[in-house]
């Protein structure tokens, strides 16, 4: 695979990642957001595969496989089970209206591309548009987390944010060392488990959504 072809493919994957991110931002129903983040993780896996073929670094195959198994299958399945158990389906109106959220998202995407364009030759160290898309995905994930009221959507935002970081990390030269990426995935899993347990505990003992607890103030 030539570097130019890899560059093009990464650009395309980046566009699809942004597309799934928009779907997450506009999702009214919780299961749509979960499916969108699962699709996003599949694209990350595809990007890993492309980069693995392009750079010959076989560690990236492992990472791509792990990402698909864990972030595209296992964690979304877990989240779907949590919302089935808890019984919530719809996201209530977020803190800022969706139209404003979409406008902020457009501004963030532009900002990421501008930031990335202002760098010099070091830009070549990162294949394709992985840097601006990574920054955009990360910031948009944070936007989802701060503007949503349901705990599951906040977790979805967290996973989307980490997808962005992964995308950039994989595209740097020949990818980050395997140990680091495995460690990161492990941390993501553990974090998700703890969050899921907390949510279920609150739900079972207090019958509320954990993100709604607002007692501690001031």
């Amino acid at each position: 695979m030539t570097p130019a072809l890899a560059h093009h493919l990464i650009d395309d994957v980046g566009a699809m990642l942004l597309f799934t991110m928009i779907l997450i931002l506009g999702a009214g129903q919780l299961y749509r957001a979960i499916y969108a983040v699962a699709a996003q993780s599949v694209f990350i896996g595809i990007a890993g595969g492309v980069l693995a073929t392009a750079t010959g670094n076989s560690d990236l195959w492992v990472i791509a496989g792990l990402t698909i198994v864990i972030k595209a299958v296992a964690l979304p399945w877990l989240m779907l089970r949590v919302i089935a158990r808890v019984g919530i389906r719809r996201e209530i109106e977020p803190v800022i209206p969706i139209s404003l959220t979409l406008a902020i998202a457009a501004a963030i995407i532009l900002l990421s591309f501008y930031l990335s364009a202002s760098l010099g030759t070091v830009r070549q160290a990162i294949t394709g548009n992985a840097l601006p898309v990574g920054i955009a995905l990360m910031l948009l994930g944070v936007l989802v987390m701060v503007s949503r009221r349901k705990a599951v959507t906040q977790m979805v935002g967290l996973f989307a944010s980490e997808n962005g970081i992964f995308f950039t990390a994989m595209a740097v030269s020949q990818g980050m060392p395997l140990i680091i990426e495995i460690g990161v995935i492990l941390d993501v899993i553990l974090g998700a488990l703890v969050m899921g347990i907390l949510m279920l505990r609150v739900r079972s003992s207090l019958d509320e959504d954990i993100a709604d607890l607002e007692q501690l103030k001031g």
Partner: protein, 489 residues
């Protein structure tokens, strides 16, 4: 064996934790707790001795250099004091039924897992391992925060884990960017590009643009974990809802570990982008933290929340010290890390005793502590004066260093604001502490003597606090000077 200490040191609490899972008797658990913490402290001192005389000790992805030493010492010392405190505290908790017998060993095991992750953070040379360890601290401490299981602690644990995980992912992104710069500058690909020692060595050759963006992400990210405003929201909740010994370690050690991460990147940024960039950002964030924390300290009602906001302010002071820069500022910042850690832990342990006695965290309800529990009351007053920055306590000394650095660097506005806030906080703290200590105790307060172990732990901390306020031991001074040199490159 000395050469393998960077690997052995985190291993000790892991083994201790595993051993604890097998025990059931609370007294045996307490004994293992204290023993394990003592071993950590002893090993730390051994390591310190080697590093001072013969330079950094490296083993695999771990590396102990002079900068890590103050943090390691802080973690070890606080672990010992918390372990001693927990002996009496746990007995009290079991008697009043706040902790169930089955949960006790899980608490101890998690506690040591938490300590292990903090040690890993400080000893990591590989920036990726640093990040993984930091996430590990979040996960273990979040479980500890929510361990009690009631509404407030679950809410605090949720906010804590969500906010700090986002924060740390920003830090990861910054790490990736710095790694990209290093890989690009090195040309060839090898795992070395993740090693801090290697990157710091070639920091002048890194592309400044990408390091700038990377440092910004790291500052916001690890700054969230450290409790820098404006991303400090989780801190008062988490530190107030956690069990008191855990709070002591959270405020005393954990936020300092996050600052450690920032310091590592500060060194890199200084080399790549020049001294002004990261310094100015640190001053900005530090000042905002100090200013934001002040009104919330004055108007606070919950004792532990007050202490949480106070930690925000002091983290701001450390950031100011680092930002003002120069030998004086950096030395002062590192000294403040130790001083504040010791003092804050002392006051949290005092709070633990007071809350156990009065069964409430509301400061208006806690009165007459000196009458009922004279030793605890004395330690409360000592701790409050120290936190407010009064001589002859340690915090006064380190704040003085930071002030001198600020004046020397010409940051007159920042210094003026800082002084103003300090004065306001002094008034507020003394008012709160005085009201709690003096007066006649309320009827609902439990009488009786404090557990001896709790007083012993507090005495230990108070002793160090006074010691460091009066003079600086030469060993400590050498460590801090060497660390300052390493940070400034």
């Amino acid at each position: 064996m000395i050469r393998h200490l960077p690997v052995l040191l985190p291993l000790v609490p892991v083994l201790t934790g595993l051993a604890m899972l097998a025990l059931r008797d609370p007294r045996a658990l307490a004994a293992v707790d204290v023993a394990g913490s003592l071993v950590i402290l002893v090993l730390t001192l051994l390591l310190a001795g080697t590093v001072i005389t013969s330079g950094p000790v490296a083993a695999g992805p771990f590396r102990a250099d002079a900068v890590a030493l103050p943090f390691l010492f802080l973690i070890g010392f606080l672990a010992v004091c918390a372990a001693i405190y927990t002996v009496g505290w746990m007995r009290e908790e079991l008697e009043t039924g706040k902790i169930k017998l089955g949960t006790v060993r899980h608490y101890y095991a998690l506690f040591h897992a938490f300590i292990a992750t903090m040690l890993l953070t400080v000893l990591a040379d590989n920036l990726g391992v640093l990040w993984i360890a930091m996430e590990g601290t979040t996960i273990t401490s979040a479980v500890l925060v929510g361990l009690r299981g009631h509404r407030g602690s679950l809410e605090a644990a949720w906010k804590y884990i969500i906010v700090t995980t986002i924060g740390i992912s920003f830090g990861l992104f910054g790490t990736v960017l710095v790694y990209a710069a290093a890989a690009h500058a090195r040309g060839d690909m090898s795992g070395d590009a993740m090693s801090w020692a290697v990157i710091a060595g070639m920091s002048k050759k890194l592309d400044p643009g990408i390091v700038r963006i990377g440092f910004l992400f790291v500052l916001v990210g690890y700054g969230t974990k450290a409790g820098l405003a404006p991303v400090h929201m989780w801190l008062p909740d988490a530190h107030s809802q956690a069990p008191s010994p855990v709070s002591a370690l959270l405020s005393g050690a954990l936020i300092k570990c996050a600052l450690f991460g920032i310091i590592r990147f500060h060194t890199i940024a200084r080399g790549a982008c020049g001294e002004a960039f990261s310094g100015r950002l640190l001053v900005l964030f530090g000042l905002v933290s100090v200013v934001v924390a002040t009104p919330l300290i004055i108007t606070q009602r919950d004792f532990k929340r007050l202490l949480g906001y106070h930690s925000v302010e002091h983290v701001g002071i450390v950031a100011l010290g680092l930002g003002f820069g120069g030998t004086v500022g950096t030395f002062g910042a590192l000294l403040h890390v130790i001083n504040h850690g010791v003092t804050k832990a002392l006051v949290f342990l005092v709070a633990g005793n007071a809350i156990g006695r009065y069964r409430t965290q509301d400061m208006h309800a806690i009165r007459g502590l000196l009458a009922i529990a004279p030793w605890t009351g004395t330690f409360l007053l000592m701790g409050a004066f120290s936190l407010a920055g009064t001589p002859p306590f340690s915090i006064f000394v380190s704040e003085l260093y930071v002030l001198r650095a600020g004046l020397g660097g010409g940051h007159f506005v920042a210094v003026a604001v800082f002084l103003l806030m300090t004065v306001i906080i002094f008034g507020g703290l003394i008012h709160h502490a005085g009201r709690m200590a003096f007066g006649s105790p309320s009827a609902s307060a439990k009488a009786g003597r404090d557990a001896g172990s709790t007083l012993g732990a507090m005495a230990l901390l108070a002793a160090v606090m006074v010691l460091l306020g009066v003079f600086l031991p030469s060993g400590l001074e050498r460590v801090l000077s060497r660390a300052t040199e390493v940070i400034l490159g």
